[in-house]
C-alpha cells in the first residue's frame, strides 16, 4: 500500500502505512529503538528543531492530569545545524521517511536555514510548527519562506487558530496540513502549588480535533491532504480521523504510556491484518493483547 501524504506538486512523500509518531514524542531518531519497530510505521517525525539552540524550560515540566498530562519541556535542542549533524546517521538508517519538525521564529531566519535542510538527503520532508503566538501574517510568511526548499512542506497548525490559518497557509505553499498541535492549557503543579502552562495531551482532546478535521476537510481544497494529530489512543481513534477525511494520523503521548500502541495502530491501518482481543494469553506482537482473531484483512 502506498499513500501520498502531500499534494501533488513538485515533490511527493509516500508512506506505506498512514501512521506516524507526532513530533516531540519519540525523540530525534536514536530513541525507542528497543521498544518500537520503526519499520511498521509510515514515517518518523522528529522532535522540534529550532534554528538556534533552545534551552529546557525552567521549573515544572510535567503535570499529570486525569487521563492526560500537561507538558512544558521548552523544546530543548542544540539548534538545527547540530541536530542535523548529530542525527543524520540515525536518519539514514531509518527504514521509513524522516520528517524533520522545524520551528521557525521569522521568515528571514528560516530562509537562511533552508540550504542546510536541502543538503541533508536523509530528511524526506519538513513539518513546520506554527507557534500559537503567531498572527496570520507571520504564519503565512513563514510557510511561504519554508516552501522555497526542495522538499515537501507540512504545516502543523496551532489548535486554537487552525480554523483561521488553514486556508491561508495552504495558499502560502503548504503541501499538507497537520491538524493540530496539542492545545495549550494551564494546570496547578501538585508539588510546588504553582500554576504551569503547557500543552495538554490525552484522549479527551480527540473529539475536539476530530470535529476540527471534519470541518476543515469540507472547507479546504480536496487535493490538500490533512494529517490528523491529537488524542489518538486506539486503532478506532485513528480510524475515526480517517473517516473524517484525514489521509494519515500522528500518534502522540499514547506512545509514552503504551509504546506498542503505535505499532498496533499502524498494523491496523496499514493494510495488514486487523485483529481484536479474543482470549487470555499474550501474543508476541502485542504483549498486553490476548489471543486475537482476524476481523478484517485488507488487500495490499
Amino acid at each position: 500500500m502506498a499513500i501520498d501524504i502531500v499534494r501533488s506538486r513538485k515533490y511527493s512523500l509516500t508512506v506505506s502505512t498512514p501512521v506516524m509518531p507526532a513530533s516531540g514524542t519519540v525523540g530525534f531518531g536514536d530513541r525507542y529503538r528497543d521498544l518500537l519497530d520503526f519499520e511498521k510505521l509510515g514515517a518518523f517525525v522528529t522532535n522540534a528543531a529550532t534554528i538556534e539552540p533552545w534551552r529546557p524550560a525552567r521549573g515544572t515540566r510535567i503535570i499529570p492530569l486525569d487521563a492526560g498530562v500537561l507538558v512544558h519541556t521548552g523544546l530543548p535542542n542544540p539548534g538545527l545545524a547540530k541536530v542535523i549533524k548529530q542525527y543524520r546517521r540515525a536518519w539514514a538508517n531509518m527504514p521509513i521517511p524522516v520528517i524533520l519538525h522545524l520551528l521557525g521564529t521569522s521568515a528571514r531566519q528560516l530562509k537562511r536555514a533552508l540550504p542546510l535542510i536541502d543538503e541533508a538527503q536523509e530528511i524526506a520532508a519538513v513539518e513546520l510548527g506554527i507557534s500559537d503566538d503567531s498572527d496570520a501574517a507571520d504564519a503565512v510568511s513563514l510557510v511561504a519562506a519554508a516552501s522555497q526548499m526542495e522538499k515537501p512542506l507540512l504545516a502543523r497548525l496551532p489548535f486554537y487558530e487552525c480554523q483561521q490559518l488553514a486556508l491561508p497557509l495552504a495558499d502560502a505553499g503548504a503541501d499538507a496540513l497537520v491538524l493540530t498541535a496539542a492545545p495549550r492549557g494551564t494546570a496547578r503543579d501538585p508539588h510546588s502549588g504553582r500554576l504551569v502552562s503547557g500543552r495538554v495531551y490525552g484522549p479527551l482532546i480527540k473529539p475536539m480535533i476530530l470535529r476540527m478535521v471534519g470541518r476543515l476537510r469540507r472547507q479546504l481544497p480536496e487535493e490538500l491532504p490533512i494529517i490528523a494529530s491529537g488524542g489518538i489512543h486506539s486503532p478506532q481513534d485513528a480510524r475515526d480521523y480517517l473517516e473524517a477525511g484525514a489521509v494519515a494520523v500522528q500518534v502522540d503521548t499514547a506512545t509514552w504510556a503504551q509504546p506498542k500502541m503505535l505499532e498496533r495502530i499502524a498494523r491496523d491501518l496499514g493494510g495488514w491484518v486487523a485483529t481484536r482481543q479474543k482470549d487470555a494469553l499474550p501474543d508476541e506482537w502485542n504483549p498486553e493483547m490476548t489471543h486475537t482473531e482476524v476481523i478484517q484483512r485488507r488487500a495490499t
Binding site: 528497543d34 521498544l35 515540566r61 487521563a67 507538558v71 519541556t73 509514552w256 503504551q258 509504546p259 481484536r276
Partner: protein, 252 residues
C-alpha cells in the same frame, strides 16, 4: 531496555504507611542495580479497552531483588493492590549509582520523599561491611523505618536540617547520596549543598550525589522533559540519572 509484564506474587504490609509488593518479573529486570528503576503501568486484563487514568507510567525503584526473578518494591499503603495484578513494565530505566572503590561509610539523605530509591544499595553495601547512615528530612521524617536492617543507622533531622552527631556523620562519610522529592528540587539540593559547604572547604567530585525522581513521561530520552543542566552539558534524568554529582548540577 524492553517492555515486559509482571504480576504481584505477594503483598507484605511493612508498617502503617507502606507495603511491599513482590513482583514476578522478566529475567531482564532481575539484574537491576541500585539506581535503576522501572516505569510501571497497570494492565486490566478484565477490560478490552485501555484505561488511561493514571496516564503516565509510575517510576518504581526496587528495594530488594530476590532469586527467581522476584523484585520487591515499596508502595504507599493507601494504594490498593491485589495478588495476581498485572503490570506492563518498561525497564531498566537509568544508570546504576557509582560508588567509590574504598567506600567505608556512606550517608544517605531523603528529603521530602520516602527513601525507596536509595534502599536497593543497602544489602550489597552491608555485605561489604559499609556503614550506612540514613537521615530523614522534611516530610521524609514521617517514613517509618523499623523494617529496615538493624545495621542501618536512621536519624531524623530537625526543622533546621540538623541531626544528632551531624558533624561526625558528615565528616566520616566517604560518599553522600541525597534523594529529594518532586517540586523545588533546586531549593532542596541548595539546602544540602549549603550544609556541606559549611563543613567541607572543598567538596570533591563524585562525593555528593543528588538523586532526582521526577515523573518520567517516556523513560527513554525521547521527550526531553527530564533534561538537567550540568556544568558544560545537558543530561537526562531517565538515561543518564537518576544520580548526578551535585558539584556539577546547576541548581537554578
Amino acid at each position: 531496555m524492553k517492555e515486559t509484564q509482571a504480576y504481584i506474587e505477594r503483598i507484605m504490609r511493612v508498617n502503617r504507611g507502606h507495603q511491599r509488593l513482590a513482583l514476578a518479573v522478566d529475567h531482564s529486570l532481575s539484574s537491576m542495580l541500585a539506581g535503576q528503576a522501572m516505569l510501571v503501568r497497570r494492565i486490566d486484563k478484565d477490560y478490552e479497552a485501555e484505561h488511561w487514568d493514571p496516564y503516565l507510567r509510575e517510576l518504581w525503584f526496587p528495594v530488594e531483588i530476590q532469586a527467581s526473578n522476584i523484585v520487591i518494591v515499596e508502595r504507599p499503603a493507601r494504594t490498593h493492590y491485589l495478588p495476581g495484578q498485572l503490570f506492563s513494565i518498561i525497564g531498566p530505566v537509568g544508570k546504576p549509582y557509582r560508588f567509590r572503590q574504598k567506600l567505608r561509610n556512606i550517608l544517605l539523605i531523603a528529603y521530602n520523599t520516602t527513601p525507596a530509591a536509595l534502599l536497593l544499595m543497602v544489602p550489597p553495601l552491608l555485605a561489604k561491611q559499609v556503614s550506612i547512615t540514613l537521615v530523614l528530612m522534611g516530610s521524609a521524617k514521617q517514613y517509618e523505618s523499623n523494617h529496615l536492617p538493624e545495621e542501618v543507622e536512621v536519624l531524623q533531622a530537625d526543622d533546621n536540617l540538623t541531626w544528632p552527631d551531624m558533624v561526625m556523620t558528615l565528616g566520616w562519610a566517604d560518599q553522600v547520596f541525597v534523594l529529594v522529592g518532586q517540586g523545588d528540587e533546586a531549593g532542596y539540593f541548595s539546602d544540602i549543598m549549603q550544609l556541606m559547604r559549611e563543613r567541607h572547604s572543598d567538596i570533591p567530585a563524585n562525593y555528593v550525589f543528588g538523586v532526582v525522581e521526577r515523573d518520567l513521561p517516556c523513560g527513554v530520552g525521547a521527550c526531553h522533559a527530564c533534561v538537567l543542566n550540568l556544568r558544560g552539558a545537558q543530561k537526562l534524568q531517565c538515561t543518564d540519572g537518576p544520580a548526578f554529582d551535585l558539584t556539577e548540577l546547576r541548581l537554578n
